[in-house]
């Protein structure tokens, strides 16, 4: 446990840290995230429209095909070592779309392959994506229960 005198010093030092640590360039980051994320979404929309028009799929089926195609490209670009460069440039712009989800799973698979198929890939595949699944599925169950009783 730290004494109060020491704690006071802490805060003074943390202020100094804040002062001397350079911040990320927010404007640049936002612009990059916006245009890369936008391009990914436009590609997704094109795939979606193509599925509806050329494959004559329903809205739901077209959405599913879009997810499959985008996950495929996210995984492919991760596998050939391109997605991490896109991510470095675009930040959240390439993390938030479904391709980023694919990236986090394939990157883990590649990293932990050396530890074996069961304890490596099997156990650690969802190391990064796990929280998204847990809270995504959890929230959907919650919303489902509410919808059931409210009767939407």
């Amino acid at each position: 446990m730290r004494g109060s005198q020491n704690k006071q010093k802490d805060e003074r030092y943390l202020k100094l840290v804040d002062k001397l640590t350079p911040n990320s360039d927010l404007a640049k980051g936002l612009i990059r995230a916006f245009w890369v994320g936008g391009v990914i979404c436009v590609i997704g929309q094109l795939v979606n429209d193509a599925a509806k028009v050329w494959l004559a799929l329903s809205k739901d089926d077209a959405g599913m095909v879009t997810a499959v195609v985008m996950v495929f490209f996210g995984s492919l670009l991760t596998g050939i070592g391109v997605y991490d460069r896109i991510g470095k440039y675009a930040g959240a712009g390439s993390i938030v779309p479904i391709t980023g989800f694919a990236n986090s799973i394939v990157a883990s698979a590649m990293e932990f392959r050396r530890e074996g198929l069961v304890l490596g890939v099997g156990a650690k595949l969802f190391l990064i994506a796990g929280p998204v699944l847990v809270y995504g599925i959890g929230t959907s169950i919650l919303v489902g229960i509410i919808a059931f009783f409210v009767g939407v």
Binding site: K7, K9, D10, E11, Y13, L14, L16, V17, L20, T21, P22, N23, S24, G29, T78, G79, G81, Y83, D84, R85, I86, G87, K88, A90, G91, S94, I95, G100, N103, S104, V106, A107, S108, M110, E111, F112, R114, L127, I128
Partner: protein, 340 residues
Amino acid sequence: MLGGQTALLETRPVVDAWASAVCKKEGEGPLGDLFDMIHTDDTMGEDNWEKAETRLFMDAVKRCIEKAGVTSGDVRMLLGGDLLNQLVASNFAGRELGIPFIGLFGACSTMAESLAVGAMILESGSADRLLCAASSHFCTAERQFRFPLEMGTQRPPSAQWTVTGAGAVMVSNRRTVLRPRPVITHVTIGKPIDLGVTDATNMGAAMAPAAADTLCRHLMDTSRTPTDYDVIATGDLGAVGSALFEELMREKGMPLLAHRHVDCGLMIFSPEQDVHSGGSGCGCSASVLCADLLPKVQKGKIGRLLFMATGALMSPVSANEGESIPSIAHAVVIERPEEV
């Protein structure tokens, strides 16, 4: 013993030989020509990153033994460490090398820690020749502390780049007039210091107070001032940590002269190499010490060097549990050969 934390080494252990091994990115940096061995492939021809780091560690140790003109049988002890759980890289190198081995963990301060412990063992007379070494590898450290390599993430400007490198230093108590060598005169063992920094992407900020504390303690114990040193070399504070360290020393009334403080993390890479705040890892201070600092001491360009590697004693588990990052710094004084 001097003061509270410093050991004065009356036998003045001799730094017999040193060697460094690094990878491509470090080889392309400002110190590129000075390393003993530069690998072009970050796997070093092995099939996983841990083996690659073990290879790097062994390369530095073997080259050092070779440069000293002795055999591994002449080495009484090997003291070394790295950043990985269970010291995978150095323990497994020890398995191959067949030299009595003491594994040390001091995060990025390991090179100074092993030199300090090694020098004190020599002072005690428990050994006559030993090797001190440390290594780090970008890819093993990323997995240990951060994300899978292919994850598309951004680093903030305060983040540092783990050096893929290793350094080994042979110290002995055998003086020869024919080959004057640098000597170790003082050792200061630092205390873990924690001022409450929690940001794992700003290790320089976590480590700067430890560096300032150890340096102040060292100067008090030895009744010296920063001007008594030609060079004060910190391990891997990076740009952010160095600025904080210099500010803390100013506050304590012992300002450093700008050109006398160097940071290994800022020496090993140039700003164009996209390493943000600078290099880090045990291999950073270890390889810079062996490639740049020790040769300068040997040639008399640096009369008295304070080598102070710093380490952030963080684990991903303690960080998840909400702990702040304690840090440590150990200092070793190396002086040029008396005969030069």
